[in-house]
Symmetry: C2
Subunit: 203 residues, 2 copies
């Protein structure tokens, strides 16, 4: 697919750096922006520029926030003694959607991934370790993804948390999704869900 | 899905205006841009801004081009007497990919669509009608999409082309795709491909 203009091609290449966007979608996006009215285009670019320049992070949980302390961290209704450690703001939103969790969060901003050049110092691990004594945290829930990188990060944080002997460290339950058929479940999940079985009345 | 920051939400809303992009993808894009380095972000915004401000259109075929006349229009190897009318630059690229067409193009920049507020004057129809006597065009191939809007535009242009009595007006062949099974073809395409059957030796 040869693009007849260098300027268009550069824009397509840049749009194709967005996660999951291929050249064909990027070209559609570029032509859409090219056809947009000047005011729509200015609004689009303005919103992205402001996102980059004006975004703040909550000083406690490191989640993106318009206020110095985010609404979750500053809510008197939340259990201030529990911190759920997640990779990114999407997981905060997913857990909030369930309306089942009343504790706080801590957003790492990624997971340890040497291949992507993400090391310990690129993540908000130091901030987490500082919060625990300061906030007298009683429980840390590790809710990072079950990938090699997520597991590595879990293990690293768990080791660091050993310095707080009274802290309870938990992780979210992994198992067969509600409504799923055992026949089609992957072996690792099914195996774990048998090993980690729970009393019937709690399910 | 509640986004915890107004700035992020505005950026997500803007990214979700791109064609085929939902809120969830838009959020991924926004967080990707937020995580990008300042230089990567500047390159991204710069490429889009330049696309909007510096893009030129070929004065003959109206295709996006870095030069006043695009390489296709200025090529001595192309048949200057045939113009293929297409909706957008994507179709030019698709036809060029086949390496089967040696004529010129005319990019309308859309199709007549009252619902989207696209009228006759928003398309490069006037430019097409001016080209035909100026370039002594012998054939116009209508290759607009087979949608209600595309058909309407085809009919409108065909009527306007009646003023050139010696001009041949054709349209691209529609039929069963090569390799496709008749059993699974849609009825309209199959019906048309029977009505418009061609001599066996030409297939």
């Amino acid at each position: 697919m040869e693009i007849p203009s260098k300027i268009l091609e550069t824009a397509v290449d840049e749009l194709a750096t967005l996660p999951g966007v291929g050249k064909r979608s990027a070209l559609r996006y570029a032509l859409h922006l090219l056809d947009a009215s000047d005011s729509d285009f200015a609004a689009f670019i303005g919103a992205l520029t402001r996102l980059k320049s004006d975004s703040h992070y909550c000083s406690r949980c490191q989640c993106i926030s318009d206020t110095p302390v985010c609404p979750i961290c500053s809510s008197p209704k939340r259990n201030q003694k529990i911190i759920c450690v997640v990779e990114n703001v999407q997981e905060v939103m997913a857990i909030e959607n369930t309306a089942q969790y009343t504790g706080l969060y801590h957003v790492l901003g990624g997971v340890i991934s040497p291949l992507d050049g993400v090391g310990i110092n690129d993540l908000a691990i130091r901030e987490l370790l500082d919060r625990i004594p300061a906030e007298q945290t009683e429980e840390v829930i590790l809710a990072l993804p079950t990938t090699m990188e997520g597991d590595t990060t879990n293990i690293y944080i768990d080791r660091q948390l050993k310095q707080f002997p009274n802290l309870k460290v938990t992780t979210i339950a992994r198992g067969i999704a509600i409504g799923d058929n055992l026949e089609y479940a992957d072996e690792i999940t099914l195996g774990r869900s048998i090993v980690n079985r729970i009393p019937f009345e709690k399910a």
